[in-house]
Symmetry: C2
Subunit: 200 residues, 2 copies
């Protein structure tokens, strides 16, 4: 029996190959192309293996997005402006990386009609906003943001413009745009006197 | 020949029946359910008629959304805060009406992988932001907003939080939320001294 062996390197390679193919299909065709059959055909991994790792299509999308969210999250330093800029730069990167961008688009469409996608989306929303929520809570604790700040609204004001511009207006944007969103937010809410802030 | 007759009332009824069925299918199943075959089966309208009016599925989504956008748009009065509140209340209504909400979700997903959807989405984005753009331009002309205001960013800051909360966070929201978004925006950007603003 194989149950006491360490992870089989071939199994790891199979998993990576399957996710790479899933990623390509998601970028090229959206969710419609992301079937277990299509992933099997492209990756050469058996359907049985695919179903064992990812029983349903939402699991394939989740696997792709969860990796990107983990990679894009920053580690706050206690400097409010710098921390917001770093974290939103990660969000910007996710919105411009073809697989994670398309994964988010798929989630937005499917979550409204498929409970399994809705559940995956809720988990991704929570993990995707965890760091910015912590940054805001810490700044409130340091009295750099007002105690009465509506943190959920603040998250919408920080993330919302980025998502709207990329996914609704279908425009790309650069880091200057992220700076403008963060600096407007701080100008509106910061309890500290404004300082001269460059756009770069 | 029928070419000189006025519009046939039966044709109008057929068109309405087809759009009503398209709307139901969009709400229930998302884009996957919105095929000409399914609309024909539900509405009793022939496929030939459907293809004549709406050659492709994006045309069916566009017909649904265009109507909602037209209905939701307000007529500015020259009072910046009141105009923004009225216009964003219309956006809020679209985000909470099942057919237009689902239509926007479909557009967000499909526009990235289907050029025909991307074209329809661009047209809808332009018409959907036309009034708020006019409100902002008029306020700049009246010097109630600064001449250097980045209007595209301002549109993202006004619409972005609403779209993010409804389509990404998957939360509903009420008019108090719309007031908070507008009042924060004005507090940040208005050239007029702030006045006491109630939340209702």
């Amino acid at each position: 029996m194989s149950s006491v062996r360490p992870p089989d390197p071939r199994a790891v390679r199979s998993r990576d190959a399957a996710l790479a193919s899933a990623r390509e299909l998601l970028i090229e065709q959206g969710l419609a192309g992301l079937t277990h059959g299509a992933v099997a055909a492209r990756s050469g991994i058996s359907r049985a293996t695919l179903y064992r790792h990812w029983p349903e299509p939402p699991d394939l999308v989740r696997a792709t997005l969860a990796l990107h969210i983990t990679l894009s999250q920053s580690r706050p330093t206690g400097d409010l402006r710098a921390d917001l800029l770093t974290e939103l730069a990660g969000t910007r990167a996710m919105l411009h990386e073809p697989a994670s961008e398309q994964g988010m688009r798929v989630m937005i469409e499917r979550a409204a009609v498929d409970p399994k996608f809705a559940e995956v989306k809720e988990a991704l929303y929570r993990s995707g906003t965890r760091v910015v929520r912590a940054i805001l809570a810490d700044a409130i604790a340091r009295a750099e943001l007002p105690a009465e700040l509506d943190v959920d609204l603040a998250i919408d004001q920080l993330h919302g413009p980025l998502f709207f511009r990329r996914l609704v207006a279908n425009r790309t944007f650069d880091l200057d745009y992220v700076h403008a969103v963060v600096d407007d937010f701080l100008r509106c809410h910061s309890t500290k006197p404004p300082r001269q802030q460059g756009i770069s």
